[in-house]
Symmetry: C4
């Protein structure tokens, strides 16, 4: 089976997951007394919203980059791809919790939940790539083996980077949240820089 169907379905899920992030705000209950003050007080929500928005954007860009190398999908790949979408769709929940609790004494569990979701996502990304590269008939025939090795290495780093940022949450959930932002910012700047270079 060709991968366009799978890509279109995944794109749909990415687009919906990113848009459902607005629910993080619709669930806040702003009340009549000091709307301006409450809106300003929502600043961790704005940060968490932008963080996850950009993060899902990055996953989407990476998903495309990945499937630029993969020409065919068998059923295992279909289900690996569905597995990848499980943590992606879940993200609005840890995002809301991060915004709500990261600056309270309940920050550690929410920083861990956010980070673990990203670790699981990164692991499944690796599993997809590992599966596709081991079964040569799924890759495009014109793929350069050295490029494949390069991608394998950069993907392999993902779970470790997010694992470290998550572990930091045991000590300081706020630092952990900042690290999630730094990871996204570094990725975007590198990609944008790469595009300019």
């Amino acid at each position: 089976m060709e991968t366009n169907r799978l890509e279109a379905f995944s794109d749909g899920v990415f687009a919906i997951a990113i848009t459902l992030l607005v629910l993080v705000f619709l669930d806040t209950h702003i009340n009549q007394h000091d709307v301006g003050g409450e809106l300003v007080g929502l600043w961790p929500y704005y940060l968490a919203y932008v963080l996850t928005f950009v993060t899902i954007g990055i996953i989407w860009v990476n998903h495309h980059a990945l499937f630029a190398y993969i020409a065919y999908a068998d059923r295992t790949l279909l289900f690996l791809n569905i597995a990848l979408l499980i943590p992606v769709v879940f993200l609005p929940f840890p995002t809301e919790l991060l915004a709500k609790f990261v600056r309270t004494d309940q920050g550690t569990p929410v920083a861990l939940l956010y980070g673990l979701t990203m670790v699981v996502m990164a692991l499944i990304f690796n599993a997809i790539w590992h599966y596709a590269t081991r079964r040569h008939n799924l890759l495009r025939i014109d793929v350069d083996r050295r490029e494949v090795t390069g991608i394998s290495r950069s993907y392999a780093a993902g779970p470790f980077i997010y694992g470290i940022a998550t572990a930091v949450g045991l000590v300081s959930p706020e630092t952990s949240a900042i690290l999630y932002g730094v990871i996204a910012a570094v990725y975007v700047s590198t990609a944008a820089w790469g595009a300019r270079a």
Copy 2:
């Protein structure tokens, strides 16, 4: 009418229904006192979420497999397809109830609701296949009759399998929920195995 429009519309509905499963979590009201404990206590929600996520994934894969044989859609087929989407879109509701109540003394009605939704879905799947195969001009001209008979048999099993798992819910809703998971797991492993073989 060709079926691409119908397939694109259905794919959209599958993608949205699968993504709305996150609402199961956004509706839980985690409070300030013991966030870590509450997140751990949500384990039936994680299981129910993964169960329905994979189940909708399977329905999506099956829907594609089905329409790989069907070349044209008349209006009856259009409306049968819309009928199929009715239980699919409904699934986040029984999923939430299953997560919330399956381990309480109110487990039976929620296990039944979940199972009946799947039985209805399986019956409409059969109706679509039955309708398409009886009107030969809707099938692709190169379809092998023996393959058609094979598919008819495997689809016919669906309502019975889910019917049994549902009936078990009258005695033990938890066993029923486990069976829904087993059905999905068996399907995925068989499909993945088939892909490897």
Copy 3:
């Protein structure tokens, strides 16, 4: 501008609006005491859900039928199409209210809201068709003028039929709700019958 973009966008909106109908259920607050009884008591919700699901399905089918005649879209047509989507996206709200209140003494306003939404939708449908047929360069060049006149007549009936069903709601909201169901059922059977004939 060709119409595929407009159709894809509209299809997306139809698919999402139909899927958001599940929110009608997620907003019910089933509680611990008699889950089975409450689920049975939700029967007006199941009916309202199926009613609007099929109705949006019909609008989707009609939208396709309409744009099978229209080859090009100018900006006026783009905005008329966006206007059409306004009542479509709104539908989950009157659906929820209909389910909740139609059998209480507050049935009239909810039956009116539902019906008026349909009347507005039918009027905009006519406006789109009227605009497209008056500007011949938007229609496909091979369109049969007699077919166009036939469609104009059948579309013109829409606002009247829904208008009558709505007006009935002033006296009996339940009859009004039944009529909305009858309109949908007649449409589906005619379409399916037409497909068989």
Copy 4:
């Protein structure tokens, strides 16, 4: 990379954001006593819903117009486009607040939030256009330089127009809300008129 993927993803996000506007209504809690009166009292909600619906429609039309000139997307453009979607997806939140509070003494912060969201959106629109026109290899080769200059000017006006309407909110939030509506109405009439002319 060609832009169709980016456009399809953005279209998905626009379609979902526009459809989620119904949540503005599903979050109102209509109660049993005077449903008719409450539905009439929701009139600021209907206006706010139509306002944002049409506004997102306009953004969608503009986004297409923009990408009719852009032939290729590099990663910077991908992320600029994701940045554009951040305020678009956010819009249901200020819409709900505008409907709820604009006529109370808490009107100013909600009018500001709505307007600032539009200003940010307009600024990113300019950034995308600025980036694409400065890197000639992203534009279509047949683009007329004078058209480009014309578009640059009309886009440059966006942040100012919304900036003024926002600033008015400091004095009169209701006037500010009316101005948001006037901006949308003028845009639609001009576009429709242009289409006729």
